[in-house]
């Protein structure tokens, strides 16, 4: 019975945390440009992987497959800095603006025009293809190649 009371108290503290979290509005992030300007040798295309502090197994697989695709299929572009891979934790306050900038709804791979960050594509199908590595990597490669360079 004591154990029941303990579990009930824990559940109650959870409910209190929910109520508390709902009562305090999170600070709105400052409007900031999606991509910091780097004057010299800026890449043409940025491949972002947006994640949170808590990393699920499937999320790690998506990151690994996407990174591997970029590293293996676009090695010369990476070396020449025409393309860049960035993994970003959106739980960090400085990075929260990416959620709004790219209309993110979960952990995502996004192809972005570095010169005009309003031109971007969220690779929605990674979640459907993550169980088939070849299809996943083919999709990511195709989307990066098809992304129009400005």
């Amino acid at each position: 019975m004591k154990t029941g009371a303990l579990l009930l108290a824990l559940a109650g503290s959870g409910i209190a945390a929910v109520t508390g979290a709902g009562a305090v509005a999170p600070p709105k992030p400052k409007a900031a440009p999606a991509v910091a300007a780097s004057p010299a040798a800026s890449p043409g295309i940025l491949i972002y992987y947006f994640h949170a502090t808590t990393r699920c197994a499937t999320c790690r697989t998506i990151e690994a497959y996407a990174h591997e695709t970029v590293a293996s299929k676009f090695a010369s572009d990476l070396e020449a800095r025409r393309l860049e891979w960035r993994a970003v934790n959106v739980d960090e306050p400085a990075n929260r603006h990416f959620i709004r900038d790219f209309q993110l709804y979960t952990r995502s791979v996004v192809v972005v025009d570095a010169k005009d960050p309003k031109r971007y594509k969220v690779l929605d199908r990674v979640w459907q293809l993550v169980r088939n590595k070849a299809a996943f990597q083919g999709y990511v490669e195709q989307e990066i190649r098809a992304f129009p360079r400005s």
Binding site: G14, C56, W127
Partner: protein, 232 residues
């Protein structure tokens, strides 16, 4: 016709992918235990399972109707549900587990009026299956959010289907749970009759169910309610 079939099959397939993804698996295990605890009554388990699946289908259809109708944006809804539903789910599952253990009695349980009407707990179990399905459907994790908001919703928008495709998706997410629940129920019934201890098996099935539901609830409470989850 072929195109319609292909799109319908895709929606169903995405639902199946969602149900067996590692992230929603914890919630599904709780649901399987909840539905499969009715030892010796496969029909009741099946009805409960179908109600559970209907609850999921209705929740996804309602959500899709809001999104396809353009009433709210996808990121708005996705982030709200991921931020809040999982936080509520943990404590809720702990309370459900304690009710199953009969350490908490819901108001009215054990009353004379009820006792006259018959098997109240069983009825409550069947009635509870539909909202359980709806609540678990709306508790999005990264994988289910990716498949629903990134896979199903674009498909529903393209084909202007706010009911049929989301309902098929819901069916896909619920079917494996129903099949496993019926198998668990049948297995327990077999064990009960083989050892001539049906009542004892039933009692233990209920306790194990409660422990599983509480364990899943504590996992959700720790991960999402206490640690606070994350922005995505």
């Amino acid at each position: 016709m072929d195109a319609t079939l292909a799109v319908s099959a895709t929606a169903l397939w995405m639902g199946l992918l969602t149900s067996v993804s590692p992230c929603p698996l914890a919630a599904n295990i709780a649901a399987m235990s909840y539905l499969g605890r009715e030892v010796g009554s496969r029909r009741r388990t099946l009805v409960g399972g179908l109600l559970y699946t209907l609850g999921r289908a209705l929740a996804y259809a309602a959500l899709a109707a809001i999104l396809v109708g353009g009433l709210l944006s996808v990121p708005e809804v996705a982030l709200f549900l991921q931020a809040h539903m999982n936080r509520v789910l943990g404590p809720l599952l702990v309370v459900v587990g304690l009710v199953l253990l009969e350490w908490i009695r819901l108001p009215g349980f054990g009353s004379r009026i009820y006792d006259r009407t018959g098997d109240r707990l069983v009825k409550a179990g069947l009635v509870g299956a539909l909202p359980l399905g709806a609540v678990l459907a709306l508790a999005f994790c990264p994988v289910s959010a990716g498949l629903f908001f990134g896979g199903l919703i674009p498909l529903a928008l393209e084909h202007r289907s706010s009911l049929w495709l989301p309902a098929l998706y819901g069916l896909g997410t619920g079917l494996p749970v129903v099949v496993f629940a019926v198998l668990v129920s049948a297995g327990l019934a077999w064990a009960g009759s083989a050892f001539h201890r049906l009542q004892a098996v039933e009692r233990w099935a209920r306790r194990v169910t409660a422990v599983v539901v509480i364990a899943v609830g504590l996992y959700y409470t720790w991960s999402f309610t206490i640690r606070g989850g994350s922005s995505l």
